[in-house]
């Protein structure tokens, strides 16, 4: 036990003395959190729109006004030339072209139904669907207004109300920040442990440690303990920044979150340890870590929902520890989930921790023997 503490103390001193590592561990995560949370958004707002109005009537102007006043669309240009609209779409200046055909008002009055056309730049998949639904909603609301104005108000047959639970303002940051916290903790834990042991290898100091009476388990514990603590500190810092800067909700128990993080960090550190056993140099350690993390983070549902992934990827991603911790972090912070709600992902993480640590330690011993 005393040996572990001594070695752990040496590690802590290493980290504290090396400015580069300390900056990497404490400042970079905060910066990343600040930039990522602002950059990583699929939010749809102020869709630039071009209007091609052939009718130029009261009804068509009314419709355009409703679009402009909705706060969702910004009319950046209008003319009666479809070519100009098409060009704006091709050049990428606008995302949607609203075309109102001639005789729009007359058709509307005479037959009660008049067409309009929406051309949406669908390069950006799901954003296009959202733009479309906003536009359709505005058109039908305006139709309702016109119906009322004709003196025969018709009550809607079905009165639809919408509740957005857990995030009433649809703030994208409340979605991203709990996930980004996980990414930060993962990167720090895995990268630092992989790099640290690879450096000892490179410098040859690992050989020296091997001839001391210290056992493999003691060595691994002492190596990983400081980074485990550092990971928890990073999570705390990230959480504080998230609450103060981004006003993210903390609806569940913070203790529960840290409990899960404690287990999860063991997995992340074990992966780092495993990487350090298969590489020779720090450069390779960094490269391999980056490669592995890249796959893990992209498949975790952090940026895009797991449900949208191809079915086989969803199955494969069950073997991705990051996915489970992202789910836990979001459930606890945003939805206020309790122990019973997150039991499944939590025990999955416990399983991962046991298996990865055992594998990494075994691999480590083998490489040195």
């Amino acid at each position: 036990m005393r040996r572990i503490l001594f070695l752990a103390r040496a590690e802590v001193l290493h980290v504290v003395r090396d400015r580069a590592t300390l900056a990497q561990a404490l400042i970079v995560p905060v910066l990343q959190l600040l930039v990522l949370s602002n950059a990583a958004t699929f939010q749809v707002r102020d869709t630039p729109t071009y209007v091609v109005d052939f009718d130029r009537s009261t009804a068509s102007r009314g419709l355009i006004n409703r679009f402009a006043a909705s706060g969702r669309f910004e009319v950046v240009g209008d003319s009666a030339s479809p070519d100009r609209g098409d060009e704006a779409l091709l050049r990428g200046d606008v995302t949607m072209v609203l075309t109102i055909p001639g005789e729009f008002e007359r058709t509307l009055v005479q037959t009660g139904i008049a067409p309009i056309q929406l051309a949406v730049n669908a390069e950006k998949g799901s954003a296009a669907a959202i733009v479309q639904s906003y536009a359709t909603a505005i058109a039908s609301a305006y139709a309702g207004e016109l119906t009322g104005a004709k003196g025969t108000p018709v009550a809607p047959a079905i009165d639809v109300r919408v509740r957005n639970w857990y995030n009433t303002t649809l703030n994208y940051k409340h979605f991203m920040v709990p996930g980004i916290l996980v990414a930060l903790v993962t990167l720090i834990a895995t990268l630092l442990s992989a790099q640290n042991i690879a450096r000892e290898k490179e410098l040859g100091t690992l050989e020296q440690l091997n001839v001391t009476p210290i056992t493999r388990t003691q060595f691994v514990t002492a190596k990983l303990l400081p980074f485990w603590v550092l990971g928890l500190i990073d999570l705390a810092i990230g959480l504080i920044v998230g609450v103060l800067v981004f006003d993210i909700p903390v609806r569940g128990s913070v203790v529960l979150l840290f409990g899960c993080a404690a287990v999860y960090l063991v997995v992340a550190l074990a992966i780092g340890l495993w990487i350090s056993t298969i590489v020779e140099t720090q450069q390779q350690a960094m490269f391999v870590t980056f490669f592995v993390m890249n796959i893990y983070l992209l498949m975790s549902g952090l940026f895009t929902p797991v449900e949208s992934m191809a079915p086989w990827v969803q199955t494969v991603s069950l073997a991705n520890p990051v996915r489970h911790f992202v789910a836990i972090s979001r459930a606890i912070l945003v939805k206020g989930a309790g122990p019973a709600d997150i039991a499944r992902p939590f025990f999955t993480l416990v399983g991962f921790a046991v298996v990865t640590l055992a594998l990494a330690v075994r691999q480590y011993s083998k490489r040195l023997a």
Binding site: P115, L118, N121, A143, T147, T304, M309, D341
Partner: protein, 368 residues
């Protein structure tokens, strides 16, 4: 010239002999394209929902059948009370819910507005909006069927999804992916390879050789130019063959723009290596200076229009932003230089500027 050929040969051997790095170089584009094609998607289908139906009868059953038939929803639970939703949301088993009023059928029959509530798990805001949009659209259709008799005014929008009618995410991500892969291969690799020569001291040996400075840079850069070009071709091939991403514009234009972007990335790599002394610092510099901006600020994954003004401004100095724009326009929209000359010009200017700066800082180091 013979000396240059010798250096080139040596560099190629370097790349070919380092097996681990070679595997990463070759595997990276392939793995990334697969990841982005299959895993990074934002399409929402098969939304898991629950229906709260306190008093099931023929009318509500018909409504539920319609929900089910929409093919967008997958009803995982039918509950009697709205309170029962909470644990399902917390466990993440449902993404949304449709709650019907206890007097739904009764009110409909009496011609009064029947109440219906859409509950969306907005902790993922986009899925939240989509659930809401889908249910509203479905209800709208149902409503119109219910009151064919009443004389109302309807505006019937016809929607055309331009450039990507199926709204497949792979069409969006794969062209952008080229920028990402090229940044890794060009900037990261060059920065590290040049710093390694410095660290191991072999750079000094090159300097006292009869090679001119530009020849050293050319010799170092040419192999990576080739590797980068191969990556572009392999990404385009994979995109076409595996994911059926359209290539509506000119292939030649795409490849030429690709080369231009590789040149920019390589110059960035040289610049970073000239300013740093150890591989570790070079790696961090390349990561922070090129890779993260390419991933976050290029519009490759996250739309630039959604970002705050400060980040939108910052994105204009990221070379990848311009290349992503070009790659997407050429592949999806089939646009030519008529529309793309501004971005091309920006890339040209960046290449010229960075190349000049990197050759200069390389010189400065040689003299000092």
């Amino acid at each position: 010239m013979k000396a240059l050929a010798g250096l080139l040969r040596k560099e190629f051997f370097h790349i070919l002999r380092d097996r681990r790095t070679l595997v990463v170089i070759i595997a990276l584009p392939i793995v990334q394209v697969i990841l982005f094609g299959y895993a990074i998607r934002t399409d929402v289908d098969h939304v898991r929902i629950a229906v709260v139906d306190p008093s099931p009868d023929a009318e509500t059953l018909a409504f539920r059948a319609r929900l089910d038939a929409a093919n967008v929803f997958h009803i995982v639970a039918v509950l009697p009370r709205i309170e029962a939703l909470e644990p399902l949301f917390k466990r993440g088993s449902i993404q949304g819910a449709v709650a019907l009023d206890p007097q739904f059928a009764e009110r409909l029959g009496r011609g009064e507005p029947a109440q219906l509530m859409i509950v969306a798990d907005a902790s993922e805001p986009n899925t939240g909006s989509l659930v809401q949009a889908y249910v509203s659209a479905m209800v709208g259709g149902y409503e119109q069927e219910l009151r064919r008799r009443g004389r109302t005014v309807t505006i019937a929008p016809s929607v055309r999804m331009r450039f990507n009618p199926t709204r497949a995410s792979s069409n969006l991500f794969v062209p952008g992916l080229m920028a990402f892969v090229l940044t890794i291969v060009s900037s990261l690799m060059t920065a590290i390879s040049l710093t390694r020569e410095k660290e191991t001291g072999t750079m000094e040996a090159l300097l006292v050789s009869p090679l001119l400075p530009w020849q050293i840079i050319a010799g170092k850069v040419a192999p990576y130019l080739l590797v980068g070009f191969i990556s572009v071709v392999s990404v385009v091939l994979e995109a076409r063959l595996v994911f059926n991403v359209p290539l509506r514009g000119s292939l030649t234009l795409l490849l030429v723009e690709g080369l231009l972007f590789i040149l920019v990335s390589l110059s960035l790599g040289i610049l970073i290596s000239a300013r740093t002394s150890s591989q570790r610092v070079a790696m961090m510099g390349a990561l922070v200076g090129t890779l993260l901006p390419t991933m976050l600020l290029s519009g490759f994954i996250f739309p630039i229009e959604s970002m705050p003004l400060a980040l939108r401004l910052a994105s204009t100095v990221v070379p990848a932003r311009w290349f992503v724009l070009v790659a997407r326009s050429v592949m999806l929209k089939g646009t030519g230089l008529v529309y793309l000359w501004p971005s091309t010009l920006v890339l040209f200017a960046m290449a010229a500027l960075l190349l000049a700066a990197s050759t200069r800082s390389f010189h400065a180091r040689l003299d000092g």
